[in-house]
Symmetry: D3
Subunit: 245 residues, 6 copies
């Protein structure tokens, strides 16, 4: 079976990650998964939220948002509506949890890193692109904090790498990294977040049309694990380059 | 290993489902999973949201909320704070999706059913109890609509049953149906929603402390499938009784 | 004249008060006035709001809310609408004032007690049931605080008891404790809050259809005083039983 | 006993009512009860709220607000805080109910009149001044609507007059029309709304410090009835003058 | 050309400024530019916002609002809508900036003055009347603070006077101080804020219908400068009178 | 005098305008004025807001926003705070007015174009870059609508071009196109919006530190007119290139 954009079922869309996209942020990345483009910045501030003060531990959190015309038809701004929608909340929380899974709070010390993931253009998989890009921005922000001695010597706040990909069953076939058109038609839709060593951080599978059985679930998990491994390799390669401030 | 409350790892807490708990709602249930108590009502209204008008199809949606003192320390009311938190949004959306998975929109016709799940007392697993109880309230509401001829003859809007349970890894052991104390200590936490025939509607696994591998994931899925099968049997039994208006 | 539900004009609906309905709250009660059911919890916290700090005096406040399907047709959640309606505000304030009328702030010390009154099922008189039930929850919370030595020895923070009832004129006849159908048809509607010794804490009378004269007002006050006396006896009786944590 | 401002217990503060204070509004009044000054406008619009369309009946509603520096220390604007407080809600509702008590909806036809009562300077009794002034603005607005034939010929939408006054017990003495200093010290505080023929529209009594008995209640009602009779006379006299547009 | 109200193009409407209009505020003014009436109060509080603490410098800010029926048709209250509109925000900011232009923060010391400008009746030029009136209220508030030694001896917090006026091109003719009817028909509309010595604090010109050229801009600036000079003279004269508390 | 970044006083920063930056929007541009980068999209929808229906005329409006980390320190999201700040409101309104100045509503017909201007990186002059970029996106959106026959044949909805630039006085010297560091130090700050033929659409000058006189104002207007002429030339050049969908 050939996919809408000519990919094989187990093929990712072209992935690009540009570091240093902002002159202000401590870490910043423009990531694209095909036509999905997400701008991720990591902002470091000394200190932690009130409920964590005096613990000696840091904090990492995330906010996700879509620009109004990142989609095919313009959506209202959440700032204008005066409230954040459920989907936005859900994805922001997912990104935050995913990145915290590879953070050693003690090593980070009482510093806070906020990841902002703003979708400039959406074509499916915005949350998985956001997690994958945010990890790179986070890694740059941690390096920045280490250079400025905000983070204590001799202990690495990052305990691993993290990336994410969507998988789904379309017309009975399990596919990796769904674009928007595939996502709309998927019977089952799953987002998987993995560490670089292939373990799971989040598994979120939803039967959109018909419930799925264990065999289908296994096929999807196999695809996702493979995709995350590829993404981890891309992250490593991108981070190998020295970033000049 | 013996659990905090003396259960074996694969044992559910005592489950009770009282139907007809409200004289106003078309379906209503007080469900308890141990000390977790959720009040679920199903409200039927003719007509559908604007974006669905003229489609000939119905709609099912859900709202979840916790009473301020359902927890150990009092939480602020979301109505007083003026906005709904991310967790509430996320769970409301999960309940809605889970129930829509067993609804035939065409058979429901242009009617809307809203499930309200209000947690009276929380001790872990509020979202899974809510889904399991809301299904029973939904079934009663559908019967009500059929008796009043709101729903066309000869076609069943419910395509199956749905129930949910939490599972998690505590001190290295996979456990079924976590109570609050276990939930807080879990390394990995998963909520699984299944149809009565054992297929998956939602799988949401989160590594709270350390990422989990495929083997652990499989152990959790096995436990959850067993738990949902038991819950489906309880639902069937409860619904077998005739409810007198 | 016989009433809709067969009562005499000066007869209360059946009243039940179940204490200890929550395992978390310091005081908790499920109260019913006929088909009206209100869940009242009392939450004790050390400390007082900022404007009262250092005064040596405590504070008592209340929040009232109706579950969306506590009524005949489902109402929107105030948390979803993002603001609290005028009626909710008004009743929350009434409950708070009523309970503060029997509190000795000095004896309570710098502790705060919040009464949450959530209407599970409404059939008229929700605010009067809430006040009557909240008093019992408050009394249990005060006992709890005394046992834990939060409240200083030798001085009782409760200076009396408080209960409330509605009265109204329907088809020219003054009636006690209106159910919803009577309330809708009432020409005049009054809520009266009394202490156990028969004095008034609040008197709120409203001409719904036609203004009322002094004679009608007196008839309503007579009925209400009688009703509150009966409710005070029920409260005393219920509180006489020892509550085992 | 002599009062703070030299009045006898049963004496009103000086009352002034200036009609025609706005060139835009269909009715407008600047009323003062001593140092309390409230600006009341009545705005007529054809049509009624959606829930009343096609009924052939009109609607009257009110909004009360205090300017930020109408009080001794500046209060935050409710528009800036983004929500209306409970007290504001409560008073707006009271004013609306009070005026609706003298409106014949059928005679008004499908027209809406909104009363805006903005407190320019507060010194106790703002709600009672607002009701008393709003009645005069309402009467002018009704005349305006009659002249423009918005209201059908031969039937008077106003079925009577309405005025309001506060009473309270200060140092054991019942007093009429409390100024702010008296209000703060009152053991019991009551707002009474009467029609011009001496019947009650609203009676709202609150024990601020100690519960009150029937005898005290009767003394307060006597005072209030007298005060409202005086206010009704002032309203009649003011309205007797022809207002030139 | 004769204007709607008979003025010449370079003529202001009658201006009145009444000081001491509130018994509570430290400075208060009722200003009218023809039928435009704005009530301005200045509230002094010791201390400054958090971001300015410890700087030794004071702060001045402003809030502008229109009463719902200050205009020809009633507008919704911003408190009821739950948010402040863009126009209100914009004008509040303009008033604040205009008054801060004549404040020496060091001389004011760590005190805050809030100017509230509430439009009682609108007929064009509400923001310019507000600035002109607020200056007088501010001057009185500063005197008040000096008398009470809140402001240190020997240094004047006010570095000059400030006033404002609108100008516009109507049917090709530049006009001073537009009333509402002229404002609606203006091709170009400009608000100019000047110090008493004729320099500019703000110049805000907007082409409503057709862009304007440099010559037109110059003609408008000439008119505005003349108008502000006249207003400064009125302010001086009004402030020359002693205000008795 | 040499400027921070080596420019002469009358020199613009490097300006780049990339068209077609979004695959979804009908017009889209990434514009940079030096390090200030704004992403502008133009969204066309058939129909107009309710208040304009049946007029045969179109509507153009704009929304401006800054990404949280577009600035040197991270700002809160307005969607999270639940309200839009005054500055955002003010700039959105300015952009909308500026673009409407070159729109023939009749020629546009009953279509709406929304311009979204999201600041990706801020270094002074974000509002002027937004207006200049939004014009190009608007021009592309109008062409798109013409090709699809949404806009009637034979009449051009755009009556001219529009661009904007900031000017200010820094250390006594008038400068064109201030970067952030200059903006912070400016005594006077002005934003000027011009049509391509050199006339003014908006002139907004503010004395930040000291009031400015007529001579200074003239110098700033001369600089701004020159800057806008240059920007108009760049716009023309960029639009000359054919954009392939």
């Amino acid at each position: 079976m050939s996919r809408i954009d000519g990919r094989t079922p187990e093929q990712l869309r072209p992935v690009t990650i540009e570091r240093g996209w902002s002159k202000h942020a401590e870490g910043s990345v423009l990531i694209s998964f095909g036509d999905t483009k997400v701008f991720c910045t990591a902002s470091v501030t000394e200190g932690v939220p009130r409920w964590r003060k005096g613990s000696g531990e840091g904090w990492v959190t995330a906010e996700y948002s879509m620009l109004p015309r990142s989609t095919n038809t313009r959506g209202d701004r959440e700032s204008v509506r005066g409230k954040i929608g459920g989907r936005t909340h859900e994805i922001s929380r997912l990104i935050g949890r995913s990145l915290r899974a590879v953070i050693d709070y003690k090593a980070l010390g009482e510093n806070t890193i906020v990841l902002d993931c703003d979708v400039l253009q959406a074509d499916g998989g915005t949350r998985t692109a956001a997690i994958t890009g945010a990890y790179v921005a986070l890694a740059d922000a941690v390096s920045w904090a280490q250079k400025r001695k905000l983070v204590k010597h001799g202990r690495q706040p990052l305990t691993g790498t993290v990336s994410a990909v969507s998988v789904g069953i379309v017309d009975g076939t399990p596919l990796l990294d769904l674009c928007y058109e595939e996502d709309v038609r998927a019977e089952t839709d799953m987002n998987v977040v993995c560490t670089g060593d292939g373990r799971f951080v989040e598994v979120q599978g939803t039967a959109e049309a018909t419930p799925f059985d264990r065999k289908e679930l296994n096929a999807l998990l196999d695809l996702a694990t493979g995709g995350c491994t590829e993404l981890a390799a891309i992250q490593r390669e991108v981070l190998a380059a020295v970033l000049t401030d």
